[in-house]
Symmetry: C2
Subunit: 209 residues, 2 copies
């Protein structure tokens, strides 16, 4: 059986159920039951359901954001060292590749991917606020770098192109968790590396045309 601590079992169960059912539909009773813990365990260990969500998001988001920040900064530094502006393809790659890759490393992260893939769309403030709070500084770095890589374009245009690219990315992450929606006759065993390459080529062509 699961020998992890109650706290960790709850985190795993919550991640799974938040991803499958959404924050509001994943009830405390379902979470604690999935985690084989008592109903009151969430409030004891985390304080509230919302605090549990924050913990679930932080557990993956903090290391993932560190990776993305590192890669974005190294793109910036390398370009600066070589006395040139960064290219849009390397900026996009630095953000998108670890993002999509992160979601396929283990089943838990896969659940997490549907969660953040949906975070922006979520009508409920709870998820979106927590997510935006963690992603905003990174987003601004991303935005600034992309702007440098597209000299001559005004901020609005860069902003919209960036969002087109992020739309494709988050949509892809959502779909990776909902492959049952594919029409008949299509390959269900997705080669993730090939998919990332396709996505990257798509957004690069769109951004820097």
């Amino acid at each position: 059986m699961s020998q992890a601590s109650t706290r960790d079992r709850i985190l795993d169960a919550a991640e799974f159920l938040f991803a499958r059912d959404g924050f509001h539909f994943a009830s405390m009773r379902a979470i604690t039951s999935e985690a084989k813990a008592n109903l009151a365990a969430v409030n004891y260990h985390f304080g509230s359901k919302e605090a549990l969500l924050e913990e679930v998001l932080k557990r993956r988001l903090v290391p993932l954001n560190a990776i993305r920040r590192d890669r974005l900064e190294s793109v910036r530094d390398r370009a600066e060292r070589e006395g040139r502006t960064p290219g849009p393809e390397e900026v996009l790659e630095a953000f998108i590749v670890p993002t999509v890759q992160f979601c396929c490393q283990d089943p838990g992260a896969e659940n997490f991917s549907t969660l953040i893939g949906r975070a922006i769309a979520e009508p409920d403030d709870t998820v979106r606020n927590v997510f935006i709070h963690h992603i905003m500084p990174l987003f601004l770095l991303f935005f600034n770098l992309l702007q440098q890589s597209l000299p001559g374009l005004d901020a609005d245009t860069v902003f919209w192109r960036l969002h087109f690219a992020l739309g494709s990315t988050t949509h892809t992450m959502r779909l990776l968790g909902k492959l049952e929606l594919l029409p008949k006759g299509l390959n269900r065993d997705v080669d993730v590396d090939k998919l990332i390459a396709e996505l990257l080529a798509f957004v690069t062509a769109g951004v820097s045309r």
Copy 2:
């Protein structure tokens, strides 16, 4: 005051609140209160909350899908008449332009746009099932036409590129309803026609590179 029938007032209120709060968070009490109707009016006129949602979606989706179908079919027919395959840019335009335009024609449609912009991401089956049921045949027509416009590409590749494009589109529609998320210093008065042109250029470059 509003002289529309109770039924119509409920439809408008539900469209607004479903878009603002999501299907599940928009309570019957909030809807009927917004519509200045009695709590029981929804169940009397529609049968259930879910049936109300179906009505809300159908009211906009049926005419919108008719427009999109017409434009897709006319692209197909014109190409056939001229003895050539349709080009990816005209296929994409036939779907995307009426989609985004539709959402800016009146305030009600704007609410509707956030609703369908979120429909695919929605964790709750209720919204997604109703939406998919209405959009699926149209999606297949779209998919087939795009496949014809990209000869030599296998179905999987075309499918993913189509979804990248749809990701950008739905993300854009979501953002049009959440402009408060823009970073400081960016233009808040979005020129929709310019935005559509940008989006179209983006996805066309991505799909047919």
